[in-house]
């Protein structure tokens, strides 16, 4: 494992510009210890995956960063400000999309701005733009039940983008999307990370997905959760999306991660 770290470069906490810092976070549910003294830095403008077997607390960590559940100990800082609850600097993309079923695509995408008190014409103009960006132009008047799973998640993504938060939190966003749509989504997400200059925190249980899209992968191990390893792929990040899955480094990292996770799979 030390070889892997040398080859791919371990995260050096000193020279990173962190958008989000997790410091010594613990979370207990009664007797159960979900997270213990977990620390992690999320570099600005990059995508960090939280990867681990189920029950390793990756979604819990994401929701603590979102301010949706309080940590038992430790603190989260975003641009130096302590997190005490949900805030406009973060936007969440949900695993089950969490769309308003009674509202059309336009209202769903602009709902985050609506809650922030932005006027109707202004927020709908912003929403139109992001509906176009995620490739849903022409579906503004459609209702969620008329869309496929992949399209629904595009609505969820557009909603998160339109509030212009610095940090995007994605909780297994593609797990309820079919395989072909997921691949298209992953390619689009790469372009998004490059163009939007936002910090993405991405929870997934798919090793291939994590390696494909991440600038930094944090491997979490369960009971209680801790960061066991941080991997930063280097060679294929700049290449074209089509070539990533053929890169030797991509294949090596996938194998390495599987080797360290296989013992934890029941």
């Amino acid at each position: 494992m030390s070889q892997t770290s040398d080859a791919f470069g371990k995260a050096d906490p000193i020279d990173i510009d962190s958008a989000v810092s997790v410091r010594g976070v613990s979370k207990n549910y009664g007797e159960v210890e979900a997270l213990r003294d977990l620390s992690l830095e999320f570099p600005r403008g990059q995508l960090t995956s939280l990867l681990g077997p189920s029950g390793c607390g990756k979604t819990t960590l994401l929701k603590i960063i979102a301010g949706l559940i309080p940590a038992t100990a430790g603190e989260i800082e975003i641009d130096g400000r302590k997190v005490t609850g949900p805030g406009p600097d973060r936007a969440f993309v949900f695993q089950d999309f969490a769309l308003l079923p009674w509202a059309n695509v336009l209202r769903n995408v602009s709902f985050g701005l609506e809650l922030r008190g932005v006027g109707k014409s202004e927020r709908e103009a912003v929403a139109e733009k992001y509906i176009g960006n995620v490739g849903l132009s022409g579906f503004e008047k459609a209702y969620p039940h008329e869309l496929s799973g992949g399209m629904r998640q595009r609505v969820g993504l557009a909603r998160a983008l339109s509030v212009d938060a610095q940090v995007l939190l994605l909780d297994e966003p593609f797990s309820a999307v079919d395989e072909q749509n997921r691949r298209k989504f992953q390619e689009d997400l790469l372009a998004l990370v490059r163009n939007e200059n936002k910090t993405f925190i991405f929870v997934t249980h798919s090793i291939e997905e994590a390696v494909y899209i991440s600038d930094q992968i944090a491997i979490l191990l369960p009971r209680p959760s801790r960061v066991s390893e941080i991997i930063r792929p280097t060679s294929f990040r700049g290449t074209k999306a089509d070539n990533i899955r053929r890169s030797p480094e991509y294949l090596d990292i996938v194998d390495q991660i599987w080797a360290s996770l296989r013992n934890y799979v029941e």
Binding site: L68, P101, W102, F111, H145
Partner: protein, 250 residues
């Protein structure tokens, strides 16, 4: 339904039962059941009369006010019970008791408390309707998808926004179901109120007609009342179906 290869229109069984009524009425078996045709002609002659319009407006007023208070109090209380553990613990036993209690027995108490006028009738109507509306609103809120609640919180919804823009709409299918049943119960409430508390409205007409053995009149008013209650319930059922497209996909 099809019969001998012919498709029967909806509610065609009503025609059969109307025929049975007509025959029983014509046979003169009991004064209590006059022929349906006589009831219908009486119905049309009664509808225009001042006594009938007065009864209708009094009943509609008591009914409308009673349902209004049941809805305006019942839905928020139900939603609060669904969202707050403490309020739920405090109120749920009472709601369940009143839902199944024989409310008619409470009417004399209401008369002592609120007098013999319209106020008591309206309160009786509200008491008949409100409990099922509370329970259904509570159930509707309890089944709201957890991630919708988290979505509202993560995008910074104020409690008021979350209430009016998310919880209410997410619970609307159940709420409307509760209102529909509540309205049907309110029809019972308003008539019982008008019979027991003060003899006004349709209650007064029932008293008048049955005491004077005007059975055709009695049945005519009863048919009007049934038709009103049925159309109201069908209208609310229609609204429920209108929003059922999202009830399944929440």
């Amino acid at each position: 339904m099809t019969l001998f290869g012919y498709r029967l229109p909806a509610m065609s069984s009503l025609i059969l039962w109307a025929a049975v009524w007509e025959i029983v009425g014509l046979s003169g078996w009991t004064f209590f059941i006059p022929p349906l045709s006589e009831v219908i002609t009486t119905l049309f002659s009664v509808i225009g009369t001042p006594a009938f319009t007065k009864a209708l407006s009094q009943t509609a007023y008591a009914f409308g006010a009673g349902v209004f208070f049941a809805v305006v109090i019942g839905i928020p209380v139900g939603i609060l019970m669904g969202k707050s553990r403490i309020i739920d613990e405090l109120l749920l036993p009472w709601v369940n008791i009143f839902l199944s209690a024989p409310l008619t027995a409470l009417v004399p108490v209401l008369m002592v408390l609120f007098g013999f006028g319209m106020k008591s009738i309206i309160i009786t109507t509200t008491l008949f309707a409100i409990w099922i509306i509370i329970l259904n609103s509570r159930a509707g809120v309890k089944q709201i998808n957890r991630s919708l609640v988290e979505m509202a919180r993560s995008f910074g919804a104020s409690p008021l926004d979350a209430f009016f823009k998310v919880y209410f709409w997410a619970a609307l299918p159940e709420i409307l179901g509760g209102v529909r049943i509540g309205v049907i119960r309110a029809v019972k409430g308003v008539i019982i109120g008008q019979l027991l508390i003060s003899i006004v409205g349709f209650g007064a007409l029932f008293e008048l007609y049955s005491n004077n053995f005007l059975m055709a009149h009695f049945w005519a008013v009863l048919i009007v009342l049934f038709a009103l209650a049925f159309s109201l319930s069908e209208f609310l059922g229609y609204l429920e179906r209108r929003i059922s497209y999202y009830a399944a996909s929440r």
